[in-house]
């Protein structure tokens, strides 16, 4: 029963993120052909970014990025591994130590089970979440691979999907282990987060300098990178990944059987002298309660800044050595020194690593748990690697996927910059982060207060998800999109199943969608239909 309870929550969350992963991969793969129409543009892309150590340190190596497959891996693997890893550690600590912290774990343990057996069942439930993430990612990746502009073999697409969720599996197991080590969810997540940070730092340093590239083998994120899907597959690298998952999970099981419920392997400090200096007012109380997080994030920020400083010079050198990249960066507003340009490029990644993603995960987890609508004010999701614009309307939300480091080449620069960081709030206003947009482009934007429209075909997939019915609709390559028209209605039959023919998107019924707007593809995630 523990297995089912944990799986119920992990699968919802995993599938939701699998959907985001899939959308991200699809946007990269399908966008490649429209963004880089000529071989010349593709070769220029490879010349500009393919050999840049600085860019490699940030988002991973670029192998054969003048092909759709190489470009997709370059944009997806590094970024989504980070997202998956954070998902894994947060989900594991939430569903293991978090449940114990809340006092619900002992209710389950009072049934016909033991602490060790219940932990084993919970781990199976958590792995079901990873499996759901893989399944949804794989379905979308395989479907994308069948496109004539992408052409991925089935096996390669499945292997790619597996590598995308490998980070999630690794840090799920590490989160399970840290849940046994300390007695609060926050501390368990912090320790797992520190392991993640160290792993990321090692991977980044290793990728920034060829002479110490061997360091990549000291980092689980480096192993994921070395799987090299689609371009030069190394499936044997999955062996240490699986071994680490098994070892961490095995240790977690062993420790679970040797400790008391509500206790931890590492000693906890339950007694301390009163410190009343921060308890003078509600504001001071808030500051006191926030202090551990603030200090943690400051330390994380400082560590990331230090790391960036270490690799910035090679990144900056690479930036200035490429005339294509320099002109591209200039067109999206970077006109400072090379180091400034490089640090500017790395900023979104830093944002993600220092907090925004956790907020986003917590929000989506709550939505996955409850399946119900949420106040608009709660739907302010901020992610820089996957900028997700969310619009809440009658149990639906709209996800607009975009990608970090949209290579700004020639005429594509303007549009890439335009769709950077678009925040849509309930159709009432649109906030635009202008950090990466040159001033002269502001007037050209087609973003309006209650309307999200692109003047040209952007090839950006827009997705609707009906939260109650778990039905999504993918609108790929739409030329103009009005959020007010994006209403996805679904009929349910009396027994609860969903009538696919009853799906309506943007005022079009199913038949009309199929007949007139082939770009709109209703996609029923039947595994999630409850």
């Amino acid at each position: 029963m523990v297995r089912e309870l944990v799986a119920r929550r992990a699968v919802r969350s995993g599938a939701l993120w699998g959907w985001v992963f899939g959308a991200y991969v699809a946007s990269s793969a399908l966008g490649f052909a429209s963004l880089y129409k000529t071989q010349q543009a593709r070769d220029e892309l490879a010349r500009s970014f393919g050999s840049s150590l600085g860019i490699r340190a940030l988002i991973g190596p670029a192998h054969a990025i003048n092909t759709a497959a190489g470009f997709t891996v370059w944009r997806s693997l590094g970024a989504l591994s980070l997202v998956g890893s954070i998902w894994g550690l947060l989900t594991a600590t939430r569903l293991l130590r978090g449940e114990e912290d809340a006092g619900r774990w002992e209710l389950l343990l009072a049934g016909g089970t033991t602490q060790r057996r219940a932990t084993a069942q919970a781990l199976v439930g958590l792995l079901a979440g990873v499996a759901a993430m893989f399944a949804v990612t794989a379905v979308i990746t395989v479907a994308t691979g069948r496109s004539s502009s992408v052409r991925l073999p089935l096996g390669a697409a499945l292997y790619f999907s597996l590598t995308l969720v490998a980070g999630a599996a690794v840090f799920l197991a590490i989160g399970a282990l840290t849940s046994q080590l300390v007695s609060t969810r926050r501390r368990a997540a912090s320790i797992a987060g520190a392991v993640f940070g160290a792993s990321f730092a090692l991977r980044m340093v290793a990728d920034s300098n060829p002479s110490i590239h061997w360091l990549v083998w000291a980092s689980p994120l480096g192993w994921v990178e070395e799987t090299r899907p689609l371009t030069d597959p190394h499936p044997w690298v999955l062996v240490p990944i699986v071994a680490l998952v098994l070892v961490a999970a095995g240790l977690a099981l062993h420790l679970a059987g040797t400790r008391d419920v509500d206790a931890a392997v590492l000693p906890d400090r339950d007694v301390s002298r009163p410190r009343t200096a921060w308890l003078g007012s509600p504001l001071a109380l808030a500051a006191r309660l926030m202090r551990p997080q603030v200090v943690s994030w400051l330390v994380a920020d400082a560590a990331f800044a230090l790391l960036l400083g270490v690799v910035a010079k090679s990144g900056a050198d690479a930036t200035t050595s490429s005339s294509g990249m320099t002109s591209a960066l200039a067109r999206i507003g970077f006109r400072g020194a090379a180091i400034d340009e490089y640090l500017g490029l790395s900023r979104p990644l830093g944002d993600m690593l220092t907090g925004e993603l956790e907020h986003c995960m917590a929000l989506l987890d709550r939505m996955a748990d409850d399946g119900g609508p949420r106040p608009v004010c709660e739907l302010r999701i901020a992610v820089s690697v996957i900028a997700v614009a969310v619009r809440m309307c009658d149990n639906q939300f709209v996800v607009l996927a975009r990608v970090l480091g949209e290579p700004g080449i020639d005429q594509d620069v303007d549009r890439a910059a335009q769709r950077d960081r678009v925040w849509v709030g309930a159709g009432t206003r649109v906030e635009q982060d202008r950090a990466l947009v040159a001033e002269q482009q502001e007037d050209e934007r087609c973003l309006e207060a209650d309307r999200l429209a692109y003047s040209q075909d952007e090839g950006v997939p827009i997705a609707l998800v009906h939260l109650d019915c778990r039905v999504s609709a993918l609108l790929a390559g739409g030329s103009a999109v009005d959020p007010r028209g994006l209403v996805c209605t679904v009929d349910r039959r009396p027994r609860g199943e969903i009538d696919v023919r009853g799906i309506r998107v943007g005022g079009c019924d199913h038949e009309r969608i199929v007949r007139e707007r082939p770009a709109i593809r209703p996609l029923v995630l039947s595994g999630l239909a409850s």
């Binding site: 006092g103 619900r104 209710l107 049934g111 016909g112 089970t113 033991t114 057996r117």
Partner: protein, 297 residues
């Protein structure tokens, strides 16, 4: 002869330097309803956690129906149901879903009896747990435990948050459990509840079981309260054998007598006694006698 529902032998648990439970010897027969009293931090919840196998004993052992609580945890759990002290549930589940889940966890449900309990406790099962008050969450836990008809009910302060009407419903349910031959181990702060329900009472102080017995046995060990009213100045009764304490207010005397009352009755003869009343101590008085008037331990 059937194994005791609960048996603990020199059961101890230390947390660092703190003796949470020290050499507990306890035996509870099947079908008994036993109250377990003690102030906060006395070791009641620690005892329950050791019996459930949720904590590892520092020394000693415990059994549930002859099954070692640590080596045969799963078999032991199949014969018991547990109500924890904190009513923490899954906020996104409804009451009905929670009962379904906890029924599956326990592995058995008497569905007809569950419906009776739901009606008795006036529980709206369609509401999500996050919309329940603390009392309603407690009711869900009580129904979840009682509906299993488990051989042993381990209840850790099960009525905290219940209103007086629901308290009556709880007492009714425990009496039903007793009639059905179930064993109940009731940890509680509410002395009147223990007094009304329990065949035996154990009193825990600083991790040590200082008393256990029926209320009559405990009262026998304790003092009898006697109030006497005289027509004139009362005689000095403080030297009468058995009198532990005597306080005089005008023509009234309050006495606390340990052991046989005969010597006192003889001493009162021919003293101008107008009125004599005596009563056994309440459980509260017994409890406070162990802990002092502040009830602290």
């Amino acid at each position: 002869m059937s194994a005791p529902a609960i048996r603990a032998e020199r059961l101890s648990k230390r947390y660092g330097q703190v003796d949470a439970l020290h050499d507990l010897d306890l035996e509870i027969a099947p079908g008994e309803v036993v109250g377990y009293l003690g102030p906060n931090g006395a070791g009641k919840t620690t005892t329950l956690r050791l019996l459930l196998g949720l904590a590892h004993a520092t020394s000693g052992r415990a059994e549930i129906f002859g099954l070692d609580c640590h080596r045969r945890t799963v078999d032991a759990h199949r014969r018991l149901a547990y109500v924890p002290g904190e009513a923490t549930l899954w906020p996104s589940l409804t009451g009905a879903e929670t009962l379904h889940l906890l029924g599956r966890v326990q592995g058995r449900v008497d569905e007809a009896y569950r419906d009776v309990l739901v009606e008795r406790f006036d529980l709206d099962l369609d509401k999500k747990v996050r919309a329940y008050s603390k009392g309603n969450r407690q009711k869900v836990l009580l129904v979840a435990a009682l509906m299993t008809r488990a051989d042993l009910l381990l209840l850790d302060e099960p009525t905290s948050g219940l209103d007086p009407l629901m308290e009556q419903a709880f007492r009714h349910s425990i009496n039903e459990a007793r009639d059905a031959g179930q064993t109940v181990f009731l940890s509680s702060h509410i002395l009147s509840e223990v007094e009304a329900l329990c065949d035996r009472v154990g009193i825990l102080r600083q991790g040590r079981l200082v008393e256990i017995g029926t209320l009559d046995q405990l009262r026998h060990l304790s003092t009898l309260s006697v109030d006497a009213v005289f027509d004139a100045v009362p005689p000095d009764l403080s030297r009468v054998p058995g009198v532990q304490r005597a306080s005089v207010t005008g023509r009234q005397v309050h006495l606390e007598v340990q052991g046989p009352i005969g010597p006192l009755v003889e001493a009162l003869a021919g003293t101008g006694l107008q009125q004599l009343t005596s009563r056994e101590p309440t459980l509260e008085e017994l409890f406070l006698a162990h802990y002092g008037s502040a009830g602290s331990g």
